[in-house]
């Protein structure tokens, strides 16, 4: 393999073409929600979304949100299943499966569940697949994941009787799960900016952003993105000494990494192009936080996108679903559930 080092991965996608910048996320109508994270559509019930440790429901977009259920830990994932079953993942790794009305559906708590649940999906066999990103509620996943070599994410299936089975392990920071057309689970890998099968085989890579959850739609998938990929971060991954010293001597909050909030602070690093002009943030400025929802086709190739750019506030999109023909997305940075409008698939 004399020339093995010359092989390189195909270049990452850039924010051009169907991924070209727009202001769809910033223009979208929004419902202010305290600490939202996950959203889910339940047939005959409407839209469920999490707010801290509670789950709220709306029947229609204009309706007032009503409390659906309250849990004793922060809700980190919601997944809808057959017969109106709703699985709710909690920050501490707890899993609650409820019926349509928010009452417990009689599932036995798993004996040895995952440490933290990043996303949930009902498998064809009726079990719930829970994604463990490998980062607990106290770990700052955004700051740590880029500098972590260890792939400690896993996917565990939990049956009604509480029996668990590890479906996959050794995944690098998985953050979302969805079933493909044949019913096989796909997971998004946050730091790898890719969608992989449970075997670890990449299905599609090179996304221009770090993905959160992935949801299946009629025409393909929706990928909610937590932050934009950044050339500086990608470059620093090759600078081992620097990163080692950073991890050793600097608090994670000051690390160079994707961020959830587009906030200003005097002690955060910035990139040269992010300097404000006349006090304004340039929309095209590089930023460590970003809002992006990617619509893809069946082969996970992007077909449309919705953005909140560097000067926007609706960053860190953690979840996106299709509901009544609209795309509904959750911005963790601005604390809103957004209605983006009809899918922008361009043929």
């Amino acid at each position: 393999m004399l020339f093995a080092t010359r092989r390189s991965d195909p270049p990452a996608m850039t924010l051009e073409g169907v991924l070209g910048p727009n202001t769809r996320l910033d223009d979208a109508a929004g419902i202010a929600v305290d600490a939202p994270n996950a959203v889910c559509v339940i047939e005959g019930l409407g839209l469920l979304f999490s707010s801290g440790s509670a789950v709220l429901a709306i029947e229609a977009w204009d309706a007032r949100p009503t409390p659906w259920a309250v849990f004793d830990d922060t809700v980190t994932a919601i997944g809808g299943g057959p017969d109106g079953l709703v699985a709710v993942g909690l920050a501490g790794g707890g899993l609650a499966v409820c019926d349509r009305n928010g009452a417990a559906a009689g599932w036995t708590a798993p004996a040895a569940g995952p440490a933290a649940i990043a996303d949930l999906a009902f498998l064809p066999d009726g079990a719930v697949a829970a994604v463990d990103s490998g980062y607990g509620p106290g770990d700052d996943m955004f700051a740590r994941a880029p500098w972590d070599d260890r792939a400690r994410g896993s996917v565990t299936s939990v049956r009604r009787d509480g029996a668990t089975r590890q479906l996959a392990s050794g995944l690098h920071c998985p953050t979302g799960i969805a079933l493909d057309g044949s019913g096989a689970p796909l997971v998004t890998l946050f730091e790898r900016a890719a969608v992989a099968e449970l075997s670890g085989q990449l299905r599609q890579s090179g996304y221009p952003a770090y993905p959160g959850r992935i949801r299946r739609t009629d025409t393909g998938y929706l990928i909610a993105c937590l932050a934009r990929r950044d050339p500086l971060i990608e470059f620093l991954k090759t600078e081992r000494d620097f990163v080692a010293e950073m991890k050793q001597s600097i608090e994670p909050r000051y690390w160079i990494s994707p961020r959830m909030h587009p906030e200003f602070s005097h002690d955060f690093p910035i990139e040269a192009g992010a300097t404000r002009l006349f006090g304004e943030i340039k929309p095209w400025a590089p930023s460590f936080s970003y809002g992006l929802v990617i619509e893809t086709d069946e082969r996970l190739v992007p077909t449309a996108s919705a953005h909140s750019r560097a000067n926007g506030l609706r960053h860190a999109i953690s979840d996106a679903v299709c509901w009544n023909g609209d795309i509904i997305a959750v911005s963790r940075a601005s604390g809103e559930v957004l209605r983006i409008g009809a899918g922008g698939t361009v043929q």
Binding site: S249, H266, F268, A272, R276
Partner: protein, 709 residues
């Protein structure tokens, strides 16, 4: 609280006498103009070295004189070809023309018996005639240089063969002897063969022609871009004609010298000369390059080919083997040269940035004053003239309260009290005014990026005070020009102290200076009485704001990237700076006097742990600039800045910050005036005014500097 510090007890700031860095020397060499000729020159040195190693006594005096004697005609032919190639043509007929001119000289000498000066004229006429024919065909009629000169080459060769066959016996049997003729052919003058002197004189003339004369410039213009030359009003066809004519005359001279030396011609005289000359030209120029009159390079190329050829033949190699190896070596030289020329700028770009490890003191003296610890006082500031300004780097107020500031478009603006809402133009400077100061006569002295130190009167007259200083010690690159005059202040004796923030980057790229972290700036002084500019202290790290202390005895200089403030004793500035204050929480920009005997320091941006750490990794910063797009380079946080208040001893007494997303985010300058603080920012479009508590409401800057009068 006037200062009570003792200068001599402050820690000394070490300043390097010279900045030594191999990468910088390489970059500086690569940006020199003459480096274009590096490869032909190196090739020449290698060939000469190779010959020296393999042939004993090759470079002895006798052989050198011999070489010089025979180099004349080849050298002249190369120069003739250079003139023609420079105008965008080519001359294949030089060999035939050379032979013909030599024949004409011999004919005139032996058969017509003419005196030598007339023979010279006849030879020149013969050469010039062929050149003129070429010029008419290729230049005036536009037949195409290759075709036209191929035609003349064959025709003249035919004529020459006919004529020489008819007259050769007569010439060779002639017994005419002439002193001048022999002197030209065989004698030496001042130790060198006469013919070689002719070559040197012609080379000097061609050199001066291309460098200094209008005609030479026209030739280069026509060769560089014929269409542009025509649009520029140059008579293209005439220029081409004259270039061929001149080339022909030089060939005529070569023929004459050859005839005087050899006293005979043969059927093979001049055969293949055109290719020999072309080869030398191509080696010297690094290709077939029109529009370039590089006489020296071409002569170096000629010397390379000539010596190589000569040494090989001397060594007894067969002619065809000589040709073979010559061709191979020429291809190697040319390939190296073409590669080098093509990649020189890339090499320069990748070596120019030359980062170094910088250890900056940790933040000191800011307990309880950091932005997250105190209320953002600038939130109460009034915003003046929003959207009407573009980058007021410095602001200054006169005794009447008029505010002056520079603008990015190169104008100096005035805003009148009390509301400061209308913008008037004081002067159009042309460059971007940065630092401002009033002199005792009430004129504004300003540092203008890329221009130097200028003085503006209130009626808008602009006068350049200085744009040059002495050259740095041991600098490869000429750094006499002031590249980024940044801020200034005027001492009580009228001397203007100002900073040249970086000698290596322009105002568009000043950020690269942070990534480099080297001491690239200098403190300069200008004495208006003697009109002399002096380098007070070279090799400072981005010297930025300048302020003369209240007592007029010391000078404060902000060192932006090292987050410190230096102090000079004006009575003995040569002793170097001491550290007035270090470990600032951000990057200090301008420093100005406060009414209570202290100082205001503008912070253009804030440090953060990551950029501080990266300053310890120079190789990382260099790799980053090569592999990461410039917009994504790690940088100091210029999105948040503020103003620090120092007491007279250099202790931080207060800090003024805006809210994190506030409009006064980056502050590069501030001036106190009658109880208010006015603040400007180099990337802002507004000026902030903050009412100060406990300030002297009668205090103004001009009064503090020049008294009531």
């Amino acid at each position: 609280m006037p200062g009570s510090f003792t200068f001599s007890s402050l820690p000394k700031q070490p300043v390097p006498l010279v900045v030594v860095s191999p990468r910088r020397i390489l970059a500086d060499l690569l940006s020199k103009g003459w480096v274009e000729n590096a490869i032909p020159f190196i090739a020449f040195v290698l060939v000469a070295g190779g010959i020296m190693l393999t042939t004993r006594d090759y470079f002895g005096a006798t052989n050198l004189l011999n070489l010089a004697q025979y180099a004349t005609d080849g050298g002249l032919l190369v120069l003739a070809l250079l003139i023609v190639v420079a105008v965008g043509g080519i001359d294949l007929s030089v060999g035939s023309n050379f032979a013909m001119s030599a024949f004409v000289a011999l004919y005139c000498f032996h058969i017509l018996g003419l005196p030598t000066p007339v023979i010279l004229a006849a030879s020149l006429a013969a050469g010039g005639l062929t050149g003129a024919v070429n010029g008419v065909l290729a230049g005036l009629i536009g037949c195409g240089a290759l075709l036209a000169t191929l035609g003349t080459m064959i025709t003249v060769r035919g004529l020459y063969t006919l004529a020489s066959q008819a007259r050769l016996v007569e010439i060779s049997t002639s017994a005419r002897v002439d002193d001048l003729w022999d002197w030209i052919g065989f004698e030496r003058w001042l130790g060198l063969p006469v013919g070689f002197w002719a070559l040197l004189i012609v080379a000097a003339c061609v050199f001066v022609m291309f460098r200094q004369s209008r005609f030479g410039w026209h030739i280069l213009a026509v060769g560089g871009n014929r269409k542009a030359a025509r649009h520029g009003g140059i008579q293209v066809k005439l220029t081409i004609f004259l270039a061929y004519l001149l080339g022909g005359l030089v060939v005529g001279l070569a023929g004459f010298l050859y005839a005087a030396r050899q006293n005979s011609v043969g059927s093979d005289t001049g055969v293949g000369m055109e290719f020999f000359a072309l080869t030398a030209l191509v080696v010297g120029l690094g290709g077939f390059v029109p529009g370039r009159g590089a006489v020296l390079s071409v002569l170096v190329g000629f010397a390379t080919v000539y010596l190589f050829n000569n040494a090989m033949i001397n060594a007894g190699y067969r002619g065809d083997f000589v040709q073979l190896s010559m061709g191979a070596i020429l291809i190697v030289i040319l390939a190296a040269d073409v590669k080098f020329r093509k990649n020189r700028h890339r090499l320069l770009a990748s070596t120019y940035l030359d980062p170094v490890r910088v250890d900056i003191d940790g933040v000191k003296g800011m307990d309880g004053l950091m932005p997250h610890e105190i209320r953002p006082k600038l939130r109460e500031a009034e915003i003046l003239a929003p959207g009407k300004l573009d980058g007021p780097e410095d602001v200054i107020l006169d005794a009447d309260g008029n505010l002056y500031c520079g603008n990015r478009d190169g104008r100096l603006l005035r805003l009148r009290p009390p509301d400061y809402s209308r913008v008037e133009v004081v002067a159009k400077i042309g460059g971007r005014p940065l630092g401002l100061a009033f002199d005792p006569e009430g004129r504004i002295v300003t540092c203008v990026a890329g221009m130097g130190l200028l003085r503006v009167t209130m009626d808008g007259a602009v006068e350049l005070l200085t744009d040059q200083t002495g050259r740095s010690l041991l600098s490869v690159q000429d750094d006499t020009t002031i590249r980024m005059a940044d801020d200034l202040d005027i001492a009580p004796d009228g001397t203007i102290y100002f900073t040249d923030a970086t000698k290596r980057y322009d105002i568009e790229n000043w950020g690269l200076d942070l990534l480099e972290g080297r001491p690239n700036g200098r403190l300069l002084s200008y004495d208006p009485r003697t009109r002399k500019t002096r380098t007070v202290c070279d090799n400072l790290v981005f010297p930025n704001g300048v302020c003369v202390t209240h007592d007029g005895k010391f000078l404060l200089v902000a060192s932006t990237w090292s987050c410190s403030i230096l102090i000079f004793d004006l009575a003995n500035a040569a002793a170097g700076p001491r550290v007035f204050l270090s470990g600032l929480p951000g990057y200090p920009d301008n420093i100005n006097r406060a009414s209570d005997g202290g100082y205001w320091v503008a912070l253009a941006g804030m440090r953060n742990p990551i950029i501080d750490q990266s300053m310890k990794y120079p190789a990382l910063r260099r790799r980053m600039t090569r592999r990461v797009p410039p917009t994504n380079w790690l940088f100091g946080n210029l999105n948040i800045g503020g103003v620090l208040k120092l007491d007279g001893d250099g202790r931080i007494a207060d800090a003024l910050w805006d809210a994190p997303g506030g409009p006064l985010y980056m502050i590069t300058s501030m001036r106190e005036h009658e109880g208010s603080l006015f603040m400007g920012g180099v990337t802002n479009n507004k000026i902030g005014r903050l009412r100060l508590e406990n300030a002297d409401n009668g205090w103004t800057g001009p009064k503090s500097y020049w008294g009531e009068g």
